[in-house]
Structure formats: structure tokens, C-alpha cells
């Protein structure tokens, strides 16, 4: 990869981050809602301080958040904050910064997304490749094709059905939550087992929801590759079907799938966020849910921005590791 493409991709990354942060800056500011006032009006209803005090507090906090400055200066401060990874302070959990809150819940989400993505990518591509491979047995082809039925169904709906059948009817797995109520988080084997039991259904929902897409695209790719001359040549050379499958067929078909993985990241994270909400798992999704419920705007914007930047960065990273997989690009 030469310097030109490198700088081009970095410029693209910069543009995506800039666009996302500009959108998150301007949309709330053209909206008629005033998050600070809403927050304190809510407090005033429950805590009972007089309306005049409310005005003073709102004015004070607006100043503290820099909302009284001219728009352009606010925009500058905001961008400078993002450059320093400072996403502001939570309105609801006041002294904590948004970054602190994100880092508290991030490991849960990363764990869930990482494991389910790897699982569904490997399983889906393997099944898709076998479905297109003429020598694989018929039952395997029909198993692979049956996964296609789940394609298009959001994982969260599969999650609800799984909760109903496995959690509610059969009572085999818990209905939700990170660990059983009453257990104390510790590094004991029992606790880890309990944790995994709770992650099983959401994980299954996410895997089932995304395997179908990989099966379809991999099967399409596999069918195309079968007609290629190099596969025919390898057959005529007398190579075993196992070697052809692994080195000629899988390796070539897998390359576009890696690009597909980069493009699918956004959907995967979105699905995971919504699934977390349904299963009441701790993580970014549940944090977003509760921030929406309590009108904690700085947390909502912070999460959106953080995830966007993370996904755009991951996409660029995938493009950078692409040459490692494809020698044709490496040697250019």
C-alpha cells in the first residue's frame, strides 16, 4: 500500500468523523428542545424548588456547558473536545463524563459483538462455501439454505422468540439480565458460568440473525468461482478436491467477504445495541436506552459519536489488512 492510498483512506476517515460530529452538533441545536431546562424542570417537579430558582439554575448550567457562547465558537469548542476524546459531561449522572460512562459499559458490548460476529462470519462463510461446492452432500446444502430464511429478520425479533420458547416456555435459560439477581460479581467459576448462561440467548439471536447474509453472499461467490479457469486447471492438474476447496476456492471467495464484513459492522453494532436493550444486558445499548428514557442528551450524542468513529476506524483498519490477505494488492 503506497502513501497515496494511505492518505486517501485517512482523509476519508477524517471526513466521516467530521460529518458525524457536525450532524450531532447541529441537529440538537436547531431542535426546539432544551435538554438542560427539561432535566431541571423534571428535578423541580420532584424536588420542589421555585420557578425563579429554576431559571437561575438553567442559566448557570447553560453557561457551564457553554451554551451561551456564539454558535461558531461552540462548534469550535465541540470539535476541539472531540479531538481530545472529550464528549462532555452526563446530565443525569452529573459528575461522570460521557467517556467514563462509555468505558464502563463498552467491554460488555465489545465482548458480545466480537464473539457473535466472528462466529457468524466463520459459520456463514463455511456453510455458504459448502452450499456452492458441488461435492458436498445434499443434506448439508439444505441445512445451509435453511439459514437463509432468517436473513432479513432483525436479531431482536429472533431474540424475543428465543426468550419466549427457551427462556419462558422451557425455562432452560434466563429471561434477561447480566447475571442472576443476588449473585455477587466475582472471578469464581460459578459466576462465569452464570454470566455465560445469560449471554447465550442474546448471542444466539445475533448469530442466527446474521449467518443468513454470509451464506447467501458466499454461495454466490462460490458459484462464480467454479466457472473460473484456474479451478478447472487445478482439477486437470489432478489436485485433490480438498486442496482445491481450501486453496483455490475458499481463499478467492473469502476476499470480497472481508470487505463485506467491514461494510456490515454498522448493522452488527446497531443490532447488538437493540438486542442488549431487549435482554436488559449491561452495555452500550442499555446505556443508550436509559439515556433516551431520562433525556440524558449528552450521553445519547456521545454514544452515537463514539460508535460512528469506532466503526469508521474499523472499516479503514480492515482495508489496511486487506493487502495481507491478497498478494495481488501487496505486490502492486
Amino acid at each position: 500500500m503506497n502513501f497515496r492510498t494511505l492518505s486517501k483512506r485517512l482523509l476519508f476517515l477524517f471526513m466521516v468523523v467530521w460529518a458525524a460530529s457536525t450532524i450531532t452538533f447541529f441537529i440538537p441545536r436547531i431542535s426546539p428542545r432544551n435538554p438542560v431546562r427539561e432535566r431541571f424542570a423534571e428535578l423541580a417537579r420532584t424536588g420542589g424548588f421555585s420557578p425563579e430558582d429554576l431559571e437561575v439554575i438553567v442559566a448557570d448550567y447553560s453557561k457551564r456547558f457553554g451554551l451561551d457562547k456564539p454558535l461558531l465558537q461552540q462548534y469550535g469548542d465541540y470539535m476541539w473536545g472531540i479531538a481530545r476524546f472529550d464528549l462532555g459531561i452526563s446530565l443525569n449522572k452529573f459528575p461522570k463524563t460521557v467517556m467514563q460512562l462509555i468505558f464502563e459499559s463498552l467491554p460488555w458490548t465489545i465482548g458480545l459483538v466480537f464473539i457473535t460476529t466472528i462466529l457468524s462470519f466463520v459459520l456463514g462463510n463455511w456453510l455458504g462455501a459448502l452450499a456452492a461446492w458441488p461435492k458436498s452432500p445434499d443434506w448439508l446444502k439444505s441445512v445451509a439454505t435453511s439459514f437463509v430464511l432468517f436473513q432479513g429478520v432483525p436479531p431482536v425479533l429472533l431474540g424475543i422468540l428465543l426468550i419466549f420458547f427457551i427462556g419462558f416456555k422451557l425455562k432452560m435459560l434466563p429471561l434477561g439480565g447480566a447475571y442472576s439477581i443476588g449473585t455477587v460479581p466475582s472471578m469464581s467459576l460459578n459466576f462465569i458460568f452464570d454470566l455465560l448462561r445469560h449471554q447465550l440467548l442474546p448471542g444466539l439471536a445475533l448469530v442466527l440473525g446474521s449467518v443468513g447474509g454470509w451464506v447467501i453472499s458466499m454461495r454466490g461467490m462460490g458459484v462464480t468461482i467454479q466457472g473460473e479457469d484456474y479451478v478447472t486447471f487445478a482439477e486437470h492438474k489432478g489436485l485433490g478436491s480438498r486442496a482445491i476447496f481450501r486453496d483455490y476456492y475458499l481463499r478467492n471467495a473469502l476476499l470480497p467477504q472481508v470487505t463485506g464484513l467491514a461494510l456490515a459492522l454498522g448493522n452488527l453494532v446497531t443490532s447488538a445495541i437493540v438486542v442488549e436493550g431487549i435482554f436488559a444486558l449491561p452495555g452500550i445499548g442499555t446505556m443508550l436506552n436509559s439515556a433516551i428514557r431520562s433525556n440524558d442528551f449528552s450521553v445519547i450524542y456521545g454514544i452515537v459519536l463514539f460508535i460512528t468513529i469506532a466503526i469508521a476506524t474499523l472499516m479503514v483498519i480492515v482495508e489496511f489488512i486487506y493487502p495481507l490477505l491478497d498478494p495481488r494488492i501487496r505486490h502492486q
Binding site: 428542545r33 432479513g152 427462556g167 431487549i278
Partner: protein, 299 residues
């Protein structure tokens, strides 16, 4: 010498309907998708004609009743008849999907045309805006927009608008690439040489050939719009008062429906949503096959 006599009866061309059914037989995903869609439409129309719409809103019936003969899908914690809520919710989902899908497709088609036909700076600007916006997860931006609107004034049309704001890039790029390839075809050159105007070429030569792609893009957009509005509703950003399918699941979840044993509350809307999205995905797959004759199977 015996002469070969041709039978006088002309070969009868089967009428359009027969041809359509014959095509459906060769395209199972389109057939299944259309059948499910037909079932959903009948269910909703029949429901709209028979239910009392008031029952879809809180405090209308006895709360927390399991499915019974009187309430086929049960009633929820707030005293809504879930059957009525589902009928209204499906109707509203259809409205959001069709409004946002149609507008997104129209905007995308226009932008795609402009971009491909005029090229140069305009093309560069439109495609780079699309490429920068596509990696940003639309759902997250929609969360911000929906969160910035006053919750009490959110209606299903606001939902459609929020979804629409980030739903035009897909069709723009699809139509652009199709127009680009079509522009180089010979029939366009012939039209150009015979002195046809730009607008004439666009509307009389290119547009009719693009219709299958526009139809496929429309179905894909409806799918996206239903999906996006469902996700927004399920995190609690839907119109609070309406029994939108995602809203019903959201309220069931916030009231701990499964923990309390009210299993019928979230299951109905979840199954309905699976059927809606499933049929749209199947129709989409079938349309792809129709729009792209290369993968169309021979008779």
C-alpha cells in the same frame, strides 16, 4: 410432391395474467413473499373494518387478559386490546414504509439521474456525500434526530420523515450506476444522433428501461424504512401514543412482560414484524432476479 400445409390457427400467445403466473412459478421467493404480503393485507383490511379503533388505545378494555375468544391476542397492562393494537400498528407500519420508501426512491432516482447524466462536479459532490454518509450507522443518526423532536408531537409522519432523511443514498448510488451503464448503450447514442433532447432521452429512452431497477429499489427502501422505524420504536423513540408494533414491544419490555408472565404481549407484534420484514425480503430477492436477467433462470 406433397406440400407442407401450415395449420391456419395462429399460435395463441397466452394473456398477460397467465404469463405472470407462469413467471411466479419459476420465482418461488417472489411468490412466497407476495403470498405473505397478501395475507398481511387481508388481515389488516379485515381488521380495520371490524375492530373498534378505540380499543387499540389505553384504558379501553380489561387489562392483562390472556388470549381468549373475546380478545384473540389478549390485552396488555394498559388496557389495550392487542388485536386492535396490532391491526392499527400494521396499518401505521405500512404508511411509514410506503411514504418513506416512495419519497426515498423518488429523491434517490432524481439525484442518481442528475449525478450520472451530467457528471463532472455535480457527480463528484453527490457520490462523495453518499460515500461519507453510508458508513455512519443511519440508526444512530436517526436516534439523534428522533430524540431532538419533542416527544409529544411525534406522529407516524414524523417517523417517516426521520427515516427518510437518511434513506436516499442507497437508491441514488444504484440508479446512478445503472444510468451510467445505460448512457453508453447504442439506443441512447441513436436517440442522441437523431437529435432528441436531453429530457426526451431521459424520459423516453432511459427511464422506461430503468423501471425494474426503480421498482426493486422501492421495495428495498420500504424494507429499510420499516426496519429503521421499528428499531427506533423498540428503543422508545416512537410516537408514544400510537400502538406501532415496535412501540408495543418496547412497552411490553419496560413493563417486564416475560418476568410477569404476560407472554402474549410482545409475541404478537414480534411475529407480525417477522412476517412483514420476511415477505419484503423475499419480494426483494425475487425482484432482484427479475431486474437482473442474467440470474433469471431459463424456462
Amino acid at each position: 410432391m406433397s406440400s407442407v400445409t401450415l395449420s391456419n390457427t395462429a399460435i395463441r400467445q397466452p394473456n398477460k395474467l397467465t404469463l405472470f403466473f407462469r413467471y411466479l412459478r419459476r420465482n418461488p421467493s417472489l411468490t412466497f413473499g407476495l403470498l405473505i404480503m397478501l395475507f398481511l393485507i387481508i388481515f389488516t383490511v379485515h381488521g380495520l373494518l371490524t375492530i373498534d379503533t378505540k380499543h387499540a388505545y389505553p384504558l379501553a378494555v380489561r387489562p392483562k387478559q390472556p388470549p381468549s375468544f373475546k380478545y384473540p391476542l389478549g390485552t396488555d397492562f394498559f388496557g389495550r386490546d392487542l388485536y386492535a393494537a396490532m391491526v392499527i400498528g400494521m396499518w401505521q407500519t405500512a404508511v411509514i414504509g410506503i411514504v418513506a420508501g416512495a419519497l426515498g426512491t423518488i429523491i434517490g432516482t432524481i439525484l442518481g439521474f442528475i449525478s450520472a447524466y451530467f457528471g463532472g462536479f455535480i457527480d463528484g459532490a453527490i457520490t462523495s456525500i453518499c460515500q461519507i454518509l453510508i458508513p455512519i450507522p443511519a440508526f444512530l443518526i436517526q436516534v439523534i434526530i428522533a430524540g431532538s423532536i419533542d416527544k409529544r408531537s411525534v406522529t407516524i409522519f414524523t417517523m417517516a420523515f426521520v427515516v427518510l432523511l437518511l434513506a436516499w443514498m442507497g437508491p441514488t448510488l444504484v440508479i446512478r450506476s445503472q444510468v451510467l451503464s445505460m448512457k453508453e448503450r447504442q439506443f441512447v447514442s441513436v436517440a442522441k444522433l437523431s437529435g432528441m433532447s436531453s429530457l426526451g432521452i431521459i424520459f423516453k429512452e432511459i427511464l422506461p428501461n430503468l423501471l425494474p431497477f426503480i421498482a426493486a429499489a422501492f421495495i428495498a427502501q420500504v424494507f429499510q424504512a420499516v426496519f429503521a422505524s421499528f428499531y427506533l420504536a423498540i428503543v422508545g423513540l416512537g410516537p408514544v401514543r400510537e400502538p406501532l408494533l415496535g412501540n408495543t414491544i418496547w412497552s411490553a419490555q419496560t413493563q417486564g412482560a416475560f418476568f410477569n408472565g404476560w407472554w402474549w404481549w410482545p409475541i404478537g407484534p414480534a411475529v407480525a414484524m417477522i412476517l412483514i420484514l420476511g415477505s419484503l425480503a423475499l419480494i426483494n430477492m425475487g425482484m432482484d432476479e427479475m431486474a437482473n436477467p442474467r440470474i433469471r433462470r431459463s424456462e
